[in-house]
């Protein structure tokens, strides 16, 4: 009677022995950021694990833009929102149309387009950044929101097209055939049959593109430089330019910047896990 319980305790202890380090490892950078965000300046640098006087004062400084580094906080926040939403919308439109054409309409040469798109997906974005920077300069788009939007759409759409194509290949062909029999045009099938059926994948892809654009640092920092044109991550990076930068304010801004994508991620987790991870690595 006693032996199995002892073994159960042993298993549980071993699991805890893995679980606790995993928890600490995961939380350290995030907790450190949170700690700075709620600490007044003098507590922030004392090396304590909990501030003596936790406060929300830092948030009020950020929201009222009461520091040199934060004077354009709301404009930069707005830039991030506009760019993320525009990238999400454009990627959805372009990728859905392309996936429909490739998977359902069977355009000649669509296989080549799919392979080219996949190829772009696998080339690391950091390697495309240098030529992209020059090209945007040639197009006269530098320091314009559109340069970042178009660059991010270029990066997001290959994967979007691929995931949507995989999903639409699973829809039965009979649906299209029945709609054609009823005299529906390709556009009507697209609008009335295809898009409604693809909704879960579309939500996943839209979220993917929005998060990708919101989180992007490298391209934003290359393509936008004007203080009123940059997005939040670039503004965060600019804090490092000065030696005496206010860390507690930087961490507060970073915390505010990190909240929306985390919320979006957890809200759409159901779609993300089903729609994306299944597509990410098909084996």
């Amino acid at each position: 009677m006693k032996l199995p319980t002892l073994r159960e305790v042993g298993t549980e202890a071993r699991l805890l022995l893995i679980g606790i380090p995993v928890f600490i490892w995961t939380m350290i950078p995030i907790y450190h950021m949170f700690l700075f965000a709620i600490s007044p300046k003098e507590d922030a640098f004392s090396g304590k694990l909990w501030p003596d006087h936790p406060t929300l004062h830092n948030f009020s400084i950020v929201f009222h833009q009461q520091h040199y580094f934060l004077r354009d906080f709301w404009i930069q926040f707005g830039n991030s929102v506009i760019i993320a939403v525009a990238v999400g919308a454009l990627t959805l439109i372009i990728a859905t149309c392309a996936a429909y054409a490739i998977s359902r309409l069977r355009v000649p040469g669509s296989r080549i387009v799919m392979n080219l798109a996949l190829f772009t997906y696998f080339i690391p974005a950091a390697f495309l950044a240098v030529p992209m920077y020059r090209t945007m300069g040639k197009y006269g788009l530098l320091n314009n929101d559109w340069s970042l939007i178009l660059a991010m759409v270029t990066i997001a759409s290959p994967y979007a097209i691929w995931v949507l194509k995989q999903a639409s290949d699973k829809l039965p062909v009979e649906l299209d055939e029945a709609a054609v029999m009823d005299g529906a045009s390709p556009l009507q099938i697209f609008r009335l049959v295809y898009v409604p059926l693809m909704m879960p994948s579309l939500v996943a892809i839209g979220t993917y593109a929005v998060l990708l654009a919101w989180n992007e640092y490298l391209y934003a920092f290359l393509l936008l430089s004007n203080d009123k044109a940059i997005t939040l991550p670039v503004a965060l990076g600019n804090f490092l330019a000065a030696d005496d930068s206010p860390w507690e304010l930087l961490m507060t801004t970073g915390f505010i910047y990190a909240l929306p994508p985390a919320a979006v991620y957890y809200a759409f987790k159901r779609y993300m896990v089903g729609g994306l991870t299944a597509g990410a690595v098909k084996s």
């Binding site: 669509s110 996949l118 950091a126 640092y217 690595v281």
Partner: protein, 291 residues
């Protein structure tokens, strides 16, 4: 090509056009056009232009003579071989932990995904501050307990590169653990029950059941992770800035460094030099995924 086979026959019969395309195919081309335009304007043109910039053999000679380039190439290899394998082994191990049926493990898995869900910039900066030699919390604690000054973490190239690898693992470990978990959950439980009856040990179950059914997934993940890690700019650039003395650059940050120094042809040449590493991986992945 077998494309004409699938074009619906009724459409062909009703519309005998001089052109070979059926109306749905014309619509298809129209709907494919936006992506093709984006592709031409923002992939084909930049890549062609970049290759044209990198055509001068003198840039490669200059690269070859630049010690920073050699160092970056070595760093990239260390990053890939040590970082990725370590990460994937931990992910393989943790995927086995997270498939255990326990309430608290379910909650832990929700927290565990946080590094993947939050943007990398604030967390990288957070770690950077933690490691600051004077005010960072790590050295504060070292001082508190030992009374001695802690090391200047990011000023030692080996430690700094190690920290960058750690940062990369911190960020992407949850994603790969999640993927490997789906692989583990796809294995039939009957196999494990049968092994249990036969008195198989934990090691034997892994060796003869888990590993054989997961090795394809594991290798695909490792290769994909290698490609993505080659493009990991943030972990290195924001944590160490390539420093100290440009000793911790990897190939993805090196191109940007040359760009900022206004040496555009060197920047492109360094990217072209990374291609022998990237293209075989890409080719292999494309063969796997376009089946």
């Amino acid at each position: 090509m077998a494309i004409t086979l699938s074009a619906s026959d009724s459409a062909l019969a009703e519309a005998p056009r001089p052109a070979r395309l059926t109306p749905p195919q014309v619509w298809g081309i129209v709907m494919l056009a936006p992506y093709i335009l984006v592709f031409l304007a923002f992939v084909v043109y930049p890549v062609g232009y970049g290759l044209w910039l990198a055509r001068d053999p003198a840039s490669y000679v200059a690269l070859y003579n630049d010690p920073i380039f050699a160092r970056a190439a070595v760093n990239t290899l260390i990053f890939l071989l040590v970082g990725i394998n370590l990460k994937m082994l931990i992910a393989l191990f943790l995927s086995g932990f997270f498939v255990q049926q326990r309430g608290w493990i379910k909650w832990l898995s929700v927290i565990f995904i946080l590094p993947w869900a939050v943007p990398s910039i604030p967390t990288i900066l957070s770690v950077r501050f933690m490691l600051n030699p004077e005010w960072g919390v790590v050295n504060q604690l070292i001082f508190k307990f030992t009374g001695e000054d802690g090391p200047n973490w990011l000023n030692d190239p080996t430690v700094a590169l190690g920290m960058a690898i750690g940062m990369h693992i911190w960020k992407s470990l949850p994603f790969w653990t999640l993927i490997l978990m789906t692989g583990r959950l796809a294995i039939s439980q009957d196999l494990f029950e049968a092994a249990e009856v036969d008195g198989a040990t934990w090691m034997q179950k892994f060796r003869y059941i888990t590993w054989p059914s997961m090795q394809t997934l594991y290798i695909t993940c490792t290769l994909l992770s290698m490609i993505w890690t080659l493009g990991d700019f943030n972990s290195v650039y924001l944590l160490t800035g390539g420093g100290p003395a440009d000793l911790t650059h990897v190939l993805s940050t090196l191109g940007i460094r040359y760009l900022r120094l206004d040496q555009l042809s060197l920047a492109m040449a360094s990217i072209v030099c990374a291609m022998p590493l990237v293209l075989p991986l890409v080719y292999f992945m494309m063969k796997r995924l376009s089946r």
